[in-house]
Amino acid sequence: MPTGLTKEELNALIEVGKTVNAHLDLDTVLESVMSVTTEVMKVEASSLVLVDDETGDLLFHVARGAQAEAVKPIRMKWGEGVVGWVVESGKPAIVNDVANDKRFYKAMDESSGFQTRSILCVPLVTGDRRSGAIEVLNKLGGEDFDEHDLLLCEAVASQAAIAVENARLHRQMLKTERLAAIGQTVAGTAHCIKNLLNGIHGGSYMIDRALVKDDRALLTRGWGMVKKNNGFLQELVLDMLTYSKEREPEYELADVNAINQAVCELMAQKAQDKGVTIRWEPNPHLSQVVLDSKGIRRCLLNLVSNALDACEPGNAGHVDVRAEVFDGDKFDIRISDNGTGIAEEDKDKLFQVFFSTKGSKGTGLGLAVTHKIIAEHHGKISVDSKLGEGTTFTISLPLKRESDFS
């Protein structure tokens, strides 16, 4: 007959409940929950497994204790190992002698070097949905897991299941909102696409006329128009796809200075055509940073292009790109211009989809896509602007080094 929970265990459950209610960031919640669980249940190791939305595989979202890092990359199938059995059946399992249990997955110990003696595993269930499991291994002091431990673990699991379900619903809501935004303003995009099609159509017409008149200059202008508008159309479609899809950043080791330099070089011709100077400064502390370089490059391209658009020709315009490190754990990239500035009433709408201050030149997606990519990095973007004086956009990102991933 299980005895009631101790004061320490009740306090731990209260703390878990508070954490679940206080945070929307799933990783933060689950790390905290498993930290409390490992301590209060007095076990050598623990893990929290989640069902992957896309593949259905069981992924070790959190692992604590010895050999935790070796466990994290492992993927299990439903029904595989004790944890797979628990997720598949929806029932808890107490296994105090793993060597004599058919469900036990030996390969995990073989690859991690951990020696499992006993397992307690409970499913994460919300309604009909099984979203994963919590597994604790080897009670300290060599004792067996019992009904009391099961009671405690199930209480934690019910809270964790709520957190997982909340995060899933939040993601779904965001995705629905984004798709609705795109659906609702298709007419806005249609106008932008029509201008681009007009450019391609116009260029083609000019080529036709040039071939009839044998006019090489007209031919060159026509072909230039087709190529340019075709390129813009591709960018617009890419922005629409990026905005509508859920994505995780593709983290890799990158040089922020190289990204800044590449973006400024790409924009050099546009800057020259407008008589605007682009200046950038390298920062020696940002040459080895882990980030999604394609995503960040995209953001910088959008922001530098917007900065150039804001500068009027013949006004000694300049665009500056600088990066700075703060507190050792975050860094900023600032894109400043001395262009037209942004009206106060437009600042709040800047990151809304299909809002543009550039009339038909703007797709209204560039800043929305930029905002989304930065948010995926758990970063922030802010704007400081004065009409007639200029604008500074600041991207703030967590500073991740390679050592954070080893």
Binding site: A187, H191, G199, M206, R209, M225, K358, G359, S360
Partner: protein
């Protein structure tokens, strides 16, 4: 060309201006001038007094309908025929009815042409309005 007709093209898209200019090169006895935003378009219309204005609807700052309204309020320019270039229109299920336009502005453009521009349609419309 002593009796050449002058057409003012107002569009913030430089490619659109170039396209329309090339299309109108094949209409006899017309010359073109252009402006790239609503404010300078209105100023140029009052200064040059063209025979026809081709006016883009969606422009940053003063849009095409605002410029059209100002042209119609001014006795000097109200008689100049106007073709509106529009990026959304009947093909998208949106229709600018005479009643709507008359209600808001008190006059209706002489023609609407949807982008992407059909060169033959534009040439025919221009020739018709200019009596060519």
């Amino acid at each position: 060309m002593a009796d050449a007709k002058q057409i003012l093209i107002v569009d913030d898209e430089l490619d659109a201006v170039e396209f329309v200019t090339v299309v109108l090169e094949d209409v006899e006895n017309v010359t073109t001038i252009s402006a790239n935003d609503g404010v300078s378009g209105l100023a140029k219309a009052k200064e040059a007094m063209p025979d026809l204005i081709i006016l883009d609807v969606q422009m940053p700052g003063r849009g095409g309908f605002d410029v059209f309204a100002d042209l119609k309020k001014d006795n000097a320019t109200k008689g100049i025929p106007v073709i509106m270039l529009t990026g959304v229109g009947e093909k998208a299920g949106i229709h600018f009815s005479g009643k709507d336009m008359g209600q808001f502005i008190g006059a209706e453009p002489d023609a609407y042409i949807e982008k992407p521009v059909d060169p033959a349609e534009l040439q025919k419309t221009v020739s018709g309005l200019l009596g060519l």
